[in-house]
């Protein structure tokens, strides 16, 4: 998908219940040459329009009327796994962001990020890259630490990070750019990117395994 989309206009959907913000983000994206195929103010609207407009990237606020951003992320990606979700949130609600990432979002940006940061993030997410803030890296790192704590879980399926992945994630959490990490560890930029992506993939995979197991335990697989 990477070569083509870079040339063509990237199809984006903006979901935000705040009209001022929705308009501002939409305008910024359009001016930068993105194709804003849909906007939505609620979770229900977002899911209906997502199916009709088939955007490549969903720029999503987590605090929206039912279903919330986490639910929209899960539903949308179940419908079209090739789509990408970039969480753009004003809320500092840590748990929500982590849940959205577990549900499959591959990028997170706080709303105070600049226009350029937003445009860059949309481009990168569309390419299939992950967009990490130090805050998100800290959350993901904390989640792996929590899962690895023998007191908290005895799960044999618990995901584990390799030493290299931990090292990279930790550096990102300390505010280093991928470029700086690559220089420090004498790796290519691409390798750093891959390590970061793997950490998210492991977390999302674990989440799916958990959900499936939960569904089986609840007997939801019977019908």
């Amino acid at each position: 998908m990477s070569a083509d989309t870079a040339e063509q206009a990237i199809r984006v959907m903006v979901v935000d219940d705040h009209p001022m913000w929705r308009d501002a983000v939409e305008r910024d994206l359009q001016q930068a040459g993105f194709d804003v195929v849909a906007v939505a103010a609620t979770g229900t609207e977002a899911l209906a329009r997502f199916k009709a407009a088939r955007p490549q990237v969903v720029v999503l606020d987590l605090q929206i009327p039912e279903p919330d951003g986490v639910g929209v992320t899960r539903e949308a990606l179940a419908h079209d796994p090739s789509a990408r979700v970039l969480v753009l949130s004003a809320s500092g609600e840590q748990a929500d962001v982590l849940e959205a990432v577990k549900a499959g979002a591959t990028g997170y940006l706080v709303k105070s990020a600049s226009r350029e940061e937003l445009l860059d993030a949309v481009r990168r997410v569309a390419r299939g890259d992950t967009v990490f803030t130090p805050g998100l890296a800290g959350l993901v790192l904390g989640e792996f630490r929590r899962l690895a704590d023998p007191a908290a879980s005895t799960d044999p399926m618990q995901p584990q990070l390799t030493e290299r992945e931990t090292e990279v994630l930790k550096m990102v959490a300390k505010g280093m750019s991928y470029k700086q990490v690559a220089e420090r560890l004498v790796l290519s930029h691409r390798t750093v990117q891959n390590h970061v992506q793997n950490t998210l993939r492991k977390l999302q995979m674990h989440n799916r395994v958990e959900l499936t197991r939960w569904a089986i335990e609840q007997g939801l697989d019977e019908d």
């Binding site: 913000w21 004003a90 809320s91 226009r115 130090p134 805050g135 800290g138 959490a173 505010g175």
Partner: protein, 356 residues
């Protein structure tokens, strides 16, 4: 129940009646009055002083006519335990005072109409006089408890609604502040200054909300001061310019004094960044929680500390900031390591936890 008891007992002892017709009238009055009382007490608005007085009066009257109906030297009164209905009504309505009053009136009547008072009579009277106030007192306590519970429920509901409204308002305010910050930076000039101020307020408010939400989740521990969430406390540092704090999503609870000391140490590291690199220089704080320890990192991208400067300061007898940071962490049983170079400066602080 007491009515059935009284009716059956009176039927059973029908031969005790000297005037059977009057006895039947008494029983009919009891049945009728019970029906009226059941209907009247059912609605709160009919539970007036008049009704209660009437209820008691009927009971007293029935007691009083007993010698006329059954003749002197009777053993059981016509209403018998039926009078308990009026007694309980008074106790319920007027608490222990009502219970006592009704009990005294009924007992006095009961004793006055009798020719002689046996030990059993005395026992019954005694029980009525004790029981009336006790039932009244219990009713009072129950009512107070119910009122208390209603108040608590109302308070909780109001608090939840306030929190919901506050969340909606805060979210709106955060959105607008971020928007002003973003647009301001793009417009430049004075607008950029406005944008910067909006950004500062946005991050302050966001930190405040996060801290509040974490505190609200554990209301039992507020004020108890035994433990604090290190992640939330460090989050407050984000209100400083250009400081980013990364922490786990789950609370990191440590003894309050340890949390305060660690926050003070991190604050000192950040002060150092502001002094040596610049007040607007970016700095990053990372908190990691393990089963047996917490690890903190404070990093900046300044020019680093020139080689030999710390040694020189130590030689001159000045302990300096770095020694004070090491000392404070050592007091907590941990270690603080400084690495510095062209890449900037990074403090790494490790504090072991005495976990149960």
């Amino acid at each position: 129940m007491t009515l059935a008891n009284a009716v059956v007992l009176n039927l059973y002892r029908a031969d005790n009646f000297q005037r059977p017709v009057a006895g039947v009238v008494c029983v009919v009055v009891m049945v009728a009055w019970t029906a009226v009382a059941v209907w009247a007490y059912a609605a709160p608005r009919r539970r007036t002083v008049g009704l209660l007085v009437a209820d008691l009066a009927v009971a007293v009257a029935l007691l009083a006519v007993t010698p006329l109906v059954k003749g002197d030297g009777f053993n059981a009164t016509v209403p018998g335990f039926w009078v308990a209905g009026a007694l309980l009504a008074w106790a319920v309505r007027y608490r222990w005072v009502g219970g006592l009053l009704a009990a005294v009136v009924l007992s006095a009547t009961d004793l006055l109409v009798r020719e002689e008072i046996t030990q059993a009579n005395y026992g019954n009277v005694f029980l009525i006089v004790i029981g009336g106030p006790i039932v009244g007192f219990m009713c009072g306590s129950l009512q107070e408890m119910a009122a208390e519970r209603d108040r608590a429920e109302r308070t909780a509901a109001a608090a939840a609604e306030r929190a919901r409204l506050a969340r909606a308002v805060h979210d709106g305010v955060l959105q607008v502040l971020s928007l002003v910050q973003r647009r301001g930076a793009e417009l430049g000039g004075e607008a950029a200054e406005l944008g910067r101020l909006a950004g500062e307020q946005e991050s302050r408010l966001r930190t405040l909300i996060r801290t509040q939400e974490r505190t609200a989740e554990r209301p039992g521990e507020v004020g108890g001061d035994a433990v604090l969430d290190l992640a939330a406390e460090l989050g407050r540092l984000e209100s400083r310019a250009a400081v980013t704090v990364a922490a786990p999503a789950t609370p990191v609870e440590l003894p309050a004094d340890v949390v305060r000391e660690l926050c003070a140490v991190v604050g000192a590291c950040l002060d150092n960044v502001a002094v040596h690199v610049g007040p607007q220089a970016p700095a990053w704080v990372l908190l990691e929680a393990f089963a047996d320890r917490v690890e903190l990192s404070v990093r900046d991208e300044g020019p680093g500390i020139p080689a030999g400067r710390l040694e020189q300061a130590a030689a001159e007898g000045r302990l300096g900031v770095s020694e004070s940071i090491r000392g404070r962490v050592a007091d907590l049983g941990g270690t603080a390591t400084l690495s510095t170079g062209s890449f900037g400066t990074e403090w790494e602080i490790v504090v072991p936890l005495g976990r149960r």
